[in-house]
């Protein structure tokens, strides 16, 4: 996402820059001193905010960039004449970025990290400059806007602590190489554009260095600023965000919390959470609700002990007297209800009728089961024991 927003933005600009190379180089040199001074100032601010920008640079919070990209496209259309001049300015930013990377006294490790921070910053900065005329001040204020967002993400991360804990031991070694992949991906496109501006050797140098020193700071690095967030937490969190984007992942998350279900001894299908908390007979024989219902329709005897089922227990299971409590406990059922609400419009009319009010809804919910493949849901109609699949 981040890399996209960067690629789309500067690519046309570079063509124009190439045509006005000489002029831009001259303008760049003129502005360079001023920019270097600003950059020094900015870097000092960055060191204080290293924590926030780290996450920013990794593209953990893409929405602001998307917004900026749109904003910039609009502004490019509107202010074509103005943006030309600012593109020159922007290219000079990059020159100065690269040079400062090369000349960075703290060496390649810090340099790699700088490049990580600078690129998104420069793109956001340019988007600001087209509207306000500011350059790095714009990008700094942008990062301040991101702070609240970051706090939210951390809150979510805490909320998902259960998963994090599970991943934490494993995530450190395999997850960290992920960061460089993201880094080089997001930085390669802009570096190609520098190549067009006769900065090829320098760029390649930086680029390869970024790849070689793929980690800005190793977690135990002495130079690593204290304010940087816990990398392992961050990585495990990004893994979570990847995992939570799909419905299958939601189920995966639920299943990872729940112990593996045993299967119904009658139909041999997996018992879901509701089934496994369903105890229709005092003998302790468990079965799924569908088989239980089928037996109630026939002789109504427990398959385990052949005793007649206690009708009160049966009602409790089917009519949802204890069901709301179970629903509250069962995260899979909560997801189910959300999914169900979202799919009600797409299923047939009789199905809608049976879900006409909430009390009934809760009752019917018992008869909706995930088929275990992540693609469809089995729906069972009460009273008729019809099975069919709803593909969402």
């Amino acid at each position: 996402m981040v890399s996209d927003s960067i690629v789309n933005g500067p690519a046309p600009a570079i063509l124009k820059d190439f045509a006005k190379k000489k002029r831009s180089n001259r303008t760049a040199k003129l502005k360079q001193c001023k920019l270097d001074a600003r950059r020094e100032q900015w870097l000092s601010q960055v060191k204080n905010k290293g924590c926030k920008e780290e996450s920013n640079g990794e593209g953990v919070s893409p929405p602001p960039y998307l917004r900026q990209n749109d904003e910039r496209k609009r502004s490019l259309n509107k202010l074509e004449t103005r943006t030309r001049g600012e593109e020159n300015e922007r290219s000079s930013f990059r020159d100065s970025d690269l040079e400062s990377l090369e000349n960075s006294p703290s060496g390649s490790i810090l340099g790699a990290n700088d490049s990580r921070k600078d690129r998104p910053g420069s793109s956001s900065g340019s988007s600001r400059s087209s509207s306000s005329g500011g350059c790095y001040s714009g990008s700094v204020s942008e990062e301040e806007e991101d702070d609240g967002c970051l706090d939210d993400w951390e809150a979510v991360a805490d909320a998902l602590a259960a998963d994090d804990k599970r991943h934490q031991p494993n995530s450190k070694p395999p997850a960290e190489p992920k960061t460089p992949v993201g880094l080089t991906d997001s930085h390669e496109p802009p570096s190609k554009t520098y190549g067009a501006e006769s900065l090829k050797p320098e760029c390649h140098g930086t680029n390869s260095r970024v790849a070689a020193n793929s980690l800005a700071w190793s977690p135990d690095d002495a130079c690593r600023p204290q304010s940087l967030p816990n990398l392992s937490k961050l990585h495990s969190f990004t893994m979570n965000t990847e995992g939570h984007c799909g419905r299958g992942a939601v189920i995966w998350a639920c299943r990872s919390i729940i112990s593996p279900p045993s299967s119904c001894p009658i139909c041999f299908e997996d018992l879901d959470l509701t089934d496994s908390s369903f105890l229709p007979c005092s003998c302790g024989f468990r079965l799924c609700l569908f088989c239980h219902k089928r037996i109630l329709e026939a002789d109504g005897r427990c398959p385990g002990c052949r005793k007649q089922y206690d009708p009160s227990i049966g009602d409790m299971g089917v009519n949802g007297v204890v069901l709301p409590i179970r629903l509250a406990r069962s995260c899979s059922m909560v997801f189910l209800s959300v999914l169900l609400l979202s799919c009600i419009n797409s299923v047939s009319d009789w199905f809608k009728d049976s879900f006409s009010f909430l009390g009934k809804f809760v009752k019917e919910l018992m008869l909706l089961r995930h088929d275990g493949h992540g693609s469809g849901w089995k729906v069972y109609e009460t009273g008729r024991s019809i099975k069919y699949r709803v593909n969402l």
Binding site: P265, I266, C267, F268, E269, F285, L287, C291, R294, I295, A298, R301, P303, G304, R306
Partner: protein, 166 residues
């Protein structure tokens, strides 16, 4: 509709430990009808049925597993609870005491147990039951003879059997 997913799992489960349990289930003939199966049980040790292999025809009703499977001996057996004429079985779990928690394997194992523990008070074949109650030795001899004759086809060729009968 027969729950074929369950039947397939049952077949796999049953045939996994065929050598230990002494029961196995195949599809009937060479067909691919999962509702018509063919079970095999070995005669229990220390009974007149020892050494025999008994074929059982299994038909699964529409309501299986909520209705009991229909089982019938194909191999002729001399037993108070099994018809000597048509192989019909008198066993409660195949009738009113069936439970969906039971499987084809457990039913076949129950048949094996029935061979070793006849119930002459609730007979299927009255003649055999009378013999069992009045002349146990003759019953044992006849049962052994029927096992030798009908349940050991693999060891004795058909021609030999015909010779023996003649």
């Amino acid at each position: 509709m027969v729950d074929f997913a369950r039947v397939q799992k049952e077949l796999a489960d049953c045939n996994r430990d065929m050598a230990i349990s002494g029961v196995s289930i195949m599809l009937h003939g060479n067909g691919n009808d999962l509702s018509h199966l063919s079970g095999t049980i070995t005669g229990p040790l220390a009974t007149p049925y020892e050494g025999g292999t008994f074929q059982i025809d299994i038909r699964l009703p529409e309501g299986y597993p909520f209705e009991p499977p229909k089982m019938q001996f194909v191999t002729k057996v001399w037993h108070p609870n099994i018809s000597s004429q048509n192989g019909a079985i008198c066993l409660d779990i195949l009738k009113d005491q069936w439970s969906p928690a039971l499987t084809l394997k457990t039913a076949l194992l129950s048949l094996q147990a029935l061979l070793s523990a006849p119930e002459p008070d609730d007979p299927q074949d009255a003649v055999v039951a009378q013999q069992y109650l009045r002349d146990y030795q003759t019953f044992m001899g006849t049962a052994r003879y029927w096992t030798e004759t009908f349940a050991k086809r693999s060891s004795i060729g058909t021609e030999e059997k015909v010779q023996k009968l003649l």
